[in-house]
Each structure stands twice: as structure tokens, then as C-alpha cells.
Amino acid sequence: MSRHRVWVYGDNVNTDVIFPGKYTYTLKSPEEIAARALEDLDPAFTAGAEPGDVIVAGFNWGCGSSREQAVTAVKYRGVPAILASSFSGLYFRNCINQGIRPIVLPGLSAVVQTGDFIEIAGDFVLAAGVRYSIPPLSVTAQAILDAGGLTPMLQKRFRGEITPLTGIGGGE
């Protein structure tokens, strides 16, 4: 179990405000990208997010563009998990593939406020004195997350350290 400060946001937060498109072909390093995280949504986060903080959001977090830097930006601020009522499909997949944990918990954003602390365990979250069960990921998604993301998983495969599994890309 780990304790985390939360930043709380509403519904339909899109990737343009998480990481503006105008930077998408010029900022390259994860550190440069992370320095712009949430720039057009919440400058307080951009200036003040600390490693270990987590984001708690409403429905459809990460809608809009497929730009993966919207995950990179948050990940390299040291955010280990994003908890949302729901995620856009692309953002959810980008989280799994980058090894940052997407936790679907409808309604959590209504019971906590920015600056509160929550506790996260393997299969539940404690927030405002209430225990919320975390729904399990698919076997495939969990395997990629456990490997630290899709890139580390494929690195192991191409080094011959693991046998391809059906459902993780490149299985036979």
C-alpha cells in the first residue's frame, strides 16, 4: 500500500490540454515533454506536481489525439497511476504500453479534492475513509504493465529471453 497526493480534474479532459500539439514534433526528451505536462489545463500541476502524486479524473480522461506524449508527460513527472471514471481507448492503451497504471473507478473524482491523500494497494484504493475495489485488467494488459510497458516486453522478446505470448503483439 502506498500513499499519494491527488490532483483532481473533471470530465472529457483531452490530450491537447495535457500536452499541446504545437510541441509534438519539437520536444523530444521525456524530461522536456514532462516540463509541459497539463500546461493548458492546470498550470499549478505543471509547476507543482511531485513524484508520487496521482491524477484523479472524471469520465473520458485523455480523449482526442492519439499523441502518446500526453502519457509520457505525466509519467515522467513521476505519476505512477491515473484514476479516472473512464479513459479514452487510446489513452488507456498508451498507459498500459508505457507502464503507467490506469485505474478505472467511476465517481472517485467526486469524493476527493486536489491536495487530499489516498492510498493505493494491488486491488483496492482507500479514499476519504472508503475502500474501492480496483477492477482487474485483462491478462494481456496486466502482463504488459508488469513488464514495465510494451517496449521492455518486446526488448526481452527480441533478446530471446521470453517466448511470444498470444495477445501481446507478435505472438503466433
Binding site: 490540454v17 499541446p20 500539439g21 489525439s65 481507448g89 501481446i168
Partner: protein
């Protein structure tokens, strides 16, 4: 047992298995994958992965479109890196600066066909539903994995059916149908779902306008979107295709999570207000709001019919706001040049730029100043989308955008048609 949705049929085919159901997770081998200006960044991930070579360079397409021609030396260096990659690895289909927007170019070139599966590192890859292909956007890491292995893990989506009936009124386009759906159903109803259209209203849509709806189903949260392909679609592709294909149609008793119905003959010109594409109102409710520039462009608003619609409105008139016109492809530009549409636009004072994405995501060619309002035929009006956080963006069809350029404020196109 119920029948199969389009998504179930298409992904079973792409995975090389007999049958799949919504919720199954499987490896899919797409018929074509593509990337654009993000190719250099994907190359860096690909090199980390350590694959010896590209799995299928013969089934890869790359366009330079998102910031093209390059606006800065950094963007130019990015393009140069992509050209080296294409040459080093023998990527089969490469389209230079000026050829146009990825979705439009790949469609024109018939590089993907009905019943096939296409993944692009671009959220609007749902676009290819116009021809009955399974098109899905992926992230950069996923595209690198596809380069390395030729396959990607997919959870087969549930499906939603939307039946279109009737025929569009004059001055109304497929953009309005899409805005009506977003206004009615919101931005989350399609989340991780296959949006499968049906009904006589599909065939009544002009071919040139059809891509708008599956493309903008990305704003509905869709994983993919689908129009049942008809003879008009086949005729457009048959002239250029280099392989055979077999279109797919969902079964009449397919299992849909939801069903919706829309009479397109009742749809009027609409506007999406800042800062969400589902903040949709009739033009009358936004009438008179000042606009500093109108933008006829992007993968949802710069085909020939869009340029012709704008030309019809501005022909012989003077403009009160800036009008930026960026055709979706070089073929669109050529057609507009031959027909006289381009001359009408230029004579009215439009700024016409090289085919590509233009200012859609704030890279160049029409980024607004703070507090300047834009009316755009694009797909997204999120805060900061066009590069300036405090610059409101309205979305509309090309008639409304052009009429607004004439008057300098949001205007119903009726009096101009």
C-alpha cells in the same frame, strides 16, 4: 446464437481466425500501417525495441503532412530524419510534403481496401470507415511494435449501430450530421466501441463527404467506425487498386450494445462552440459572434466538395475576416484549379496554402493570436488546439465557415446559396 458485427468479422479476418467476439483479446495483423511527422519519434522507440528489421515495409505508408512544408529548422530536421528512415529501410509508400493529409492520400491511392484493417499513429484513422475498412488509431509505442512484429494486441470492441435515413438539405453537409450525433450522444458514447452505420441515408451522402463522419467518430470515443461500402465506393477504388478485396457487412442479427437512428433530412447547419466538439447548437444560436479567421481545411473539411462549397459562398464577394484554405491533398488542389473553384477563392481574398494539416493542431499556417476567434471545418476545438490557449474555435461545415468569413461573424449560409 446472434450474428457478427463488422468489427468481429474484420478482426477475425485480420487475426487469421474463424470467429471472434467482443471482449476477446487477440493479435491482429493489419493490411497497412501508417505514420506521419511522428515517424522519427517512432523510429527511436523501434530502435530501443531491438528488432532486426521492419516486419512488413511493403505494407507501410508514411506521409509528411502535420507540419509540412517545415515551418522551422527543428521541423525540417524531423522531416530529414524521416526521409533517411524511408530510404534506409525501403518503406514502400512515402508521400512528400505537399501531397496531402495521410487519411486523404492513402484513400486516393487505394492503399487500403474494403474489408481490410489499417492502423495509423493518428487518432482519426477511424476515417477509413468511409470505404468499409477497419481503421484504428494507435500510439507511437504501438506503431513501433507493429513495425517490429507486424502485429498488435487488440480487445475486440463492442459495437453500436447508427441508422441514417433521408437525404441532406441544401447547405447541410456530412459535417452537420456528425455534429448532430455528437451533440445528441456526447463524447463518451462510443468509447472503445465500433460505430457501425447503416440505412439508406448512408448511400444518399455524396462520396466526397462520407469520410467526415467515420473520421470524427474519434470525437465520439470510437475505436473504429464503419459505413457499408456500395458501388460508388468500389468504383472510386477500382481505378487505382493493386490487389483484390472482399468487402464485409455486419449480419442483420448482429449483437449491438446500442442502436440509434437519425433522419439526416431534418439536420440543419450546426456549430460546435468552444471548447468541445459536442457543444453543438444550430447556427442561429451562435449567429453574430465575431470571427477573425475562417479555416477551410483538415481531414474533415478540405476535400473538393468543401472547397467548392466555400467558393460558391464567397464568389464575387469581399471578405470581412481572413479566410485560410488548405486543400486535403494535391489531387484536391488540382481539381479545384481545373474547375475554377480555386480562382473564385483567390479572387475573394483567400490565403491558399500547400496541402496538409495546416493550423489544425497549432503547428503553423494560421495560428490565432490570443483572443482571436476561428471558425474551422476541422474536427477539434479543444482549448489550445490551434496553438493558442485563449483563442476560441468554432466548428462548422464549409458553407457556414465561408459565410462567416464574408460577414466577419458567425452566419447562416442560407442567404448566400
Amino acid at each position: 446464437m446472434t450474428g457478427w458485427t463488422f468489427a468481429e468479422k474484420a478482426l477475425a479476418r485480420a487475426a487469421g481466425v474463424d470467429a471472434v467476439r467482443a471482449g476477446d483479446v487477440l493479435d491482429v495483423r493489419p493490411d497497412l500501417i501508417f505514420s506521419h511527422d511522428n515517424t522519427a519519434a517512432i523510429r527511436r522507440i523501434f530502435e530501443q525495441i531491438g528488432a532486426p528489421r521492419l516486419a512488413r515495409p511493403d505494407r507501410m505508408a508514411i506521409t509528411l503532412d502535420h507540419a509540412a512544408p517545415a515551418p522551422t529548422s527543428q521541423h525540417a530536421a524531423n522531416h530529414a530524419e524521416i526521409r533517411r528512415f524511408v530510404a534506409d529501410h525501403g518503406v514502400a509508400h512515402f508521400f512528400e510534403v505537399g501531397r496531402g493529409i495521410c487519411h486523404q492520400v492513402i484513400s486516393e491511392e487505394a492503399l487500403i481496401l474494403p474489408g481490410e484493417t489499417i492502423f495509423g499513429s493518428d487518432s482519426h484513422t477511424t476515417h477509413f470507415g468511409w470505404m468499409g475498412a477497419f481503421g484504428m488509431g494507435v500510439g507511437r509505442t504501438e506503431m513501433a511494435a507493429l513495425w517490429a512484429t507486424g502485429a498488435l494486441w487488440i480487445r475486440v470492441p463492442e459495437a453500436v449501430q447508427i441508422v441514417l435515413e433521408g437525404r441532406l438539405q441544401p447547405g447541410v453537409t456530412a459535417k452537420d450530421v456528425c455534429l448532430r450525433l455528437l451533440g445528441d450522444l456526447g463524447m463518451t458514447g462510443g468509447q472503445y466501441r465500433s460505430i457501425e452505420f447503416a440505412g439508406a441515408g448512408v448511400a444518399s451522402l455524396p462520396l466526397d463527404e462520407r469520410p467526415v463522419i467515420p473520421n470524427m467518430m474519434a470525437e465520439f470515443g470510437a475505436m473504429n467506425a464503419y459505413f457499408p461500402p456500395d458501388e460508388v465506393v468500389f468504383a472510386a477504388l477500382n481505378a487505382r487498386r493493386t490487389r483484390d478485396y472482399a468487402p464485409l457487412y455486419p449480419d442483420a442479427d448482429a449483437d449491438y450494445a446500442e442502436r440509434h437512428r437519425l433522419d439526416v433530412s431534418a439536420v440543419e447547419p450546426l456549430v460546435a462552440l468552444p471548447h468541445q466538439p459536442d457543444h453543438v447548437v444550430p447556427v442561429a444560436q451562435a449567429q453574430g459572434k465575431p470571427v477573425d479567421q475562417a479555416f477551410i481545411g483538415t481531414c474533415t473539411g478540405a476535400r473538393y466538395s468543401d472547397l467548392a462549397a466555400a467558393a460558391q459562398v464567397v464568389r464575387g464577394r469581399r471578405l470581412r475576416s481572413r479566410l485560410i484554405v488548405i486543400p486535403a491533398s494535391s489531387e484536391v488542389l488540382e481539381q479545384a484549379a481545373r474547375s475554377g473553384v480555386l480562382l473564385d477563392l483567390i479572387a475573394a481574398g483567400a490565403a491558399v496554402a500547400s496541402p496538409g494539416c495546416g493550423p489544425c493542431m497549432g503547428n503553423h499556417l494560421g495560428v490565432p493570436a490570443p483572443n482571436e476567434a476561428t471558425i474551422s471545418t476541422g474536427s477539434r476545438n479543444f482549448r489550445g488546439r490551434m496553438g493558442t490557449a485563449d483563442a476560441p474555435i468554432y466548428l462548422s461545415n464549409p458553407y457556414v465557415a465561408a459565410a462567416s468569413a464574408v460577414t466577419g461573424c458567425i452566419t447562416h449560409p442560407g442567404e448566400f446559396l
